[in-house]
Symmetry: C2
Subunit: 319 residues, 2 copies
C-alpha cells in the first residue's frame, strides 16, 4: 500500500480531527498550526470522540508552511475567512503531483483556490461532522464524520469519479471515515448548503442551538422555506435536489444531539463569520443566474449587521 | 366651547402622554391605571418633554373601569397584548354618544373593538410619537407627537372626515398635538406599518436602536425591502402608497434621535410583544388577499421564536 503524505493547513475542529484520524491510521501527516503550535509540538493532539478518545503524543507540527515537506495531498482546513493567506501558504507545500483538497464550507471557493494552484489540482471535500476545538490541541468530536469528495473543474462541470479520488477515499476509509465519492461537486455543495444556510444563520441571529430551533414550530417552517430557497438556487444551475432531501435534513437535525453550529461558535468567540462562503456567495450566484432568494437575502443582511457589531465590540474590549 | 370628557384606558407611554396634555389644555380627563394607581393618585403625573416638562399634581385616577364616569371619548391606550381585557373594561365606560378612540399600533384591531361596542362608535388613531414610561406616573416624551385620526367602518371602507372627528381633532390641537384627519383609516394604518414593521421587528431581532440600524448599509436595504412588502400588502387592498413615502420614512428615521422602539422596550422588559397586531395581522391579511410577503413572514417567525424564548426566561427567573 502506498503511504500518501498529507499536509493539514489549519489544525482546528476539522483539520485536527481528520488529520489525527489519518495519522492514527498510519498515514504520514504534517500539521500546520498557528496559536496552538508550541503546545502541540510538546504535547501532541488529543481527540475526544464517541468513537473512542485517543492521544497522539507526537505529531509533525509546523508554524511555517515553508518548512513543511511537499505532500501528496494538501488539505485546506482553515476557516474560509483566512483564505486570503492561501497565496502565501499553498505554493510552498505543493509538488507537481500534489492534490489540494479543500475541506471548507460554502460556495465557489474552489474557484479561488484554482487561481492559485491551477484547476487540475483542486478537489473539494464536504465534511458532515460535529466537531469543535475546545482547547490547544484538543478536539472534541461529537457526532458524524463523513466526507463527500468531488473533483473540481472550471465552471463546476461534473467530473465523475477519478483514480486519485479513489486513493484519497481509501485513506480516509482506512481511518474509519465514511466517504461519499460525488460525481458532481457543485451538486454536493448545494446539498450541503441546504443544511448550512438555515442552521448556521438562524443559530447566530436567534442565539440558539439546533435543538432549540427545531423545537419551535415557526422556526421549523422558516428552516424549510430557507431550504427551499437553496434548492431554487441549485435549480438555477440545473442541479436538482428533491423535496425528500429537505425532509431528510430536517428529520435528521431534529434527532441530532443539541449542536452549536460552527458559525455560532465563531460568533460567540467574536471571530469573523464565514458569511460570504456560506451565505453571500450562493445567494449572489443564484441572483446572477436570475433567481431571487428573498429570505436568504434577509438572512445575509441580518448576519452582516451582527458580524459588524460583534467585531466592533471585540475591538472595544481589546482597546 | 363644549368641554368633552376623556377616559384614558391605559396610562402608559401613549395614554399618559396624550391624556396629560389634554388635561393640561383644560379638558376633563380620567385615567385608568393598574400598577401605577397608588402612586399617581397621590403624586399625579409627570411629563418630561423637549416641548416643556410639566407636572399634573392632581389627576382623576381609577384602578377600576367600573368606577369611571361615562365619558364622551374613551381612549384605548393599552398595549394590544392586553386587548383581551376590553370586553370587561369598555362597556362600563360608555354612554350612548361615546366615541371609542383606539390609539394602538397594528392592523385589524378596530374590527375586534367593533365587536364589543358596535362599529359606529369606533375611531382609529395612529400616534407618531417617541415616548416611554420610565417610572410610576413618569412619562418621558422624546420626539414628535402627531396623531392621525380615521373613522372606522366595517371592512374599512373609507369614511371621510366627520363632525365628531373634527371635534376630537380640535381638542388635541388645543393641547398642542398636530392632527391629521385621515379620510381612509386603512390606508393610514398601512402607512404606519411601513415604519413599524421593519423598525420594531429588526430592533428586537438585531438588538439595536434605530440609529444603529440606519448606520448599516445592509440593514438600510433590508428596511426598504420590508417597507416594499408592506406597500405590496397595502396594494392588495387597493391602497396605493408611493415610493416617495418609503424614502421619506427612511430619511426621517436616519435624522431622528436614537430611539429604542416600543417592541424593543417590551422585549427588554420581558413583556409580551405586540407581534400579532403589528406583524402577524397585516402579513396574514396580505396572504388572504393572495400576496406573499416572504421577508415579513421571516420577520414574524423570528419574532415568534424570540418572544417565546423571552417569556420562558421570564418564567424561569420568576420561579
Amino acid at each position: 500500500m502506498t503511504n500518501r503524505s498529507y499536509a493539514i493547513l489549519g489544525t482546528g475542529a476539522v483539520g485536527g480531527f481528520y488529520g489525527a484520524r489519518l495519522q492514527k491510521a498510519g498515514l504520514d501527516v504534517h500539521f500546520l498550526l498557528h496559536s496552538d503550535y508550541e503546545h502541540v509540538r510538546q504535547h501532541g493532539l488529543v481527540v475526544e470522540s464517541p468513537e473512542g478518545d485517543f492521544t497522539l503524543p507526537q505529531v509533525k507540527a509546523y508554524c511555517n508552511a515553508d518548512e513543511m515537506p511537499q505532500c501528496d495531498v494538501v488539505v485546506i482546513a482553515l476557516k474560509s475567512t483566512y483564505n486570503h493567506l492561501l497565496p502565501k501558504l499553498l505554493p510552498a507545500a505543493l509538488k507537481d503531483s500534489s492534490v489540494v483538497l479543500l475541506l471548507q464550507n460554502g460556495w465557489g471557493i474552489e474557484t479561488e483556490v484554482a487561481k492559485i494552484v491551477g484547476a487540475e489540482r483542486v478537489m473539494g471535500g464536504l465534511c458532515f461532522v460535529c466537531s469543535n476545538k475546545v482547547g490547544p490541541g484538543l478536539i472534541r468530536h461529537l457526532d458524524y464524520s463523513a466526507v463527500a469528495l468531488g473533483e473540481y473543474t472550471p465552471d463546476y462541470q461534473p467530473a465523475g469519479i477519478t483514480e486519485r479520488m479513489r486513493l484519497i477515499a481509501s485513506d480516509f476509509e482506512r481511518a474509519g471515515i465514511p466517504i461519499e465519492q460525488a460525481e458532481d461537486l457543485m451538486l454536493a455543495r448545494w446539498k450541503k448548503l441546504v443544511w448550512n444556510i438555515p442552521y448556521n444563520g438562524l443559530s447566530v441571529i436567534l442565539n440558539a442551538r439546533t435543538d432549540e430551533l427545531m423545537a419551535d414550530a415557526h422556526i421549523r417552517i422558516l428552516v424549510e422555506q430557507l431550504m427551499q430557497e437553496v434548492v431554487a438556487g441549485a435549480a438555477a444551475y440545473n442541479r436538482a435536489i428533491p423535496d425528500s432531501f429537505i425532509q431528510k435534513m430536517v428529520d435528521h437535525t431534529a434527532k441530532m444531539k443539541p449542536y452549536r453550529t460552527s458559525m455560532k461558535i465563531d460568533y460567540d468567540e467574536k471571530r469573523p463569520l464565514e458569511l460570504e462562503a456560506i451565505v453571500g456567495n450562493p445567494w449572489r450566484a443564484a441572483q446572477s443566474a436570475g433567481v431571487e432568494l428573498p429570505q436568504i437575502a434577509m438572512l445575509y443582511r441580518q448576519l452582516k449587521f451582527l458580524d459588524a457589531q460583534n467585531r466592533e465590540q471585540r475591538e472595544d474590549s481589546e482597546n
